[in-house]
């Protein structure tokens, strides 16, 4: 290795020390699947995204319960003499 002085020799040495490497096909398939799921999540309309959807559902349920309670009280007030 005493002759390794020029840039070309460094290039040659590093290229032989670092040949192209590839991930396993299983890993590649799994990651592509993962990315596809993430894309689906990211491109879904905001209201259909899990967190947003759950918040909207919770708000609708709370409003329905509140309205039920209010309606019950209003009816009671109307029926009482």
């Amino acid at each position: 290795m005493a002759g390794l002085t020029g840039e070309n020799e460094i290039r040659e040495l590093l290229k032989s020390a670092c040949p192209p490497a590839a991930p396993s096909p299983e890993f590649k398939d799994q990651l592509l699947q993962d990315l596809t799921h993430r894309v689906e999540g990211l491109t879904r309309p905001r209201w259909r995204q899990p967190k947003v959807g759950a918040s909207i559902a919770a708000a609708v349920i709370s409003a329905a319960i509140g309205y039920g309670i209010w309606l019950g009280q209003a009816m009671e007030a109307t029926l009482l003499p």
Binding site: I10, L14, K15, A17, C18, A22, D34, T36
Partner: protein
């Protein structure tokens, strides 16, 4: 899976290892919209190259390389809408991968404070890998790999980008977020350090 989408193969050049210049504009447009076909194309075109780049930067550790490649593509997907076509797609991905490798070593440095036995085990694994390398590729390559692994990360990164990836200084400067002049200096120091590790005479 990718088959559920109409993956447009129009972006690729006949070599299929990069996106052709004429199709790149459309590809980037689709990628910004996070079009599933464009994302699958991005992955299929660059996953192997990014893996190879990361694999050599992390001392040929498959598990670590896989984790970093995953983090790289997830980050690319999240920031795809911000990609402004100021650099090539591969340069952009390399830049994300390089940052992820740096993050990995920063995390490792923090964790190292708490590691005792694990570090010892890792050293043993390193020795085994080195022995396997020696048997597999011979003294010259094994020496070069050992020397490269023992260099500081930014030296290792700049040497791999310059001599293994054969990138011009300007492209490396975009990836590493430094000026071209700073990259030239870094390369000089990295070459000097590599020569010292390999105990070979310096350039005149």
């Amino acid at each position: 899976m990718a088959q559920t989408y109409k993956i447009r193969a129009v972006y690729n050049t006949p070599m299929a290892d990069s996106i052709s210049k004429t199709n790149e504009a459309q590809f980037i447009k689709d990628l910004r919209r996070r079009d599933p076909g464009a994302v699958a194309q991005l992955y299929n075109t660059y996953a192997d190259r990014i893996y190879s780049l990361v694999f050599h930067q992390v001392g040929r550790n498959h598990e670590v390389a896989q984790d970093i490649v995953q983090e790289t593509f997830v980050a690319a997907l999240k920031s795809a809408t911000k990609f402004r076509n100021q650099s090539k797609v591969y340069t952009w991905l390399c830049s994300i991968a390089n940052n992820k490798v740096s993050d990995f070593y920063r995390r490792q440095k923090r964790q190292a404070k708490y590691q005792t036995m694990e570090a010892l085990e890792a050293d043993q694994i390193g020795d085994e890998t080195l022995a396997a390398d020696f048997a597999e590729t011979g003294e010259r390559q094994a020496d070069a790999r050992q020397a490269l692994s023992s260099l500081p990360l930014h030296y290792r990164q700049v040497l791999i980008l310059k001599y293994v990836e054969e990138m011009p200084v300007l492209q490396i400067s975009k990836i590493m977020g430094r000026s071209p002049k700073s990259i030239e200096g870094l390369l000089t120091r990295a070459r000097k350090e590599l020569r010292a590790k390999l105990a070979i005479p310096s350039e005149g």
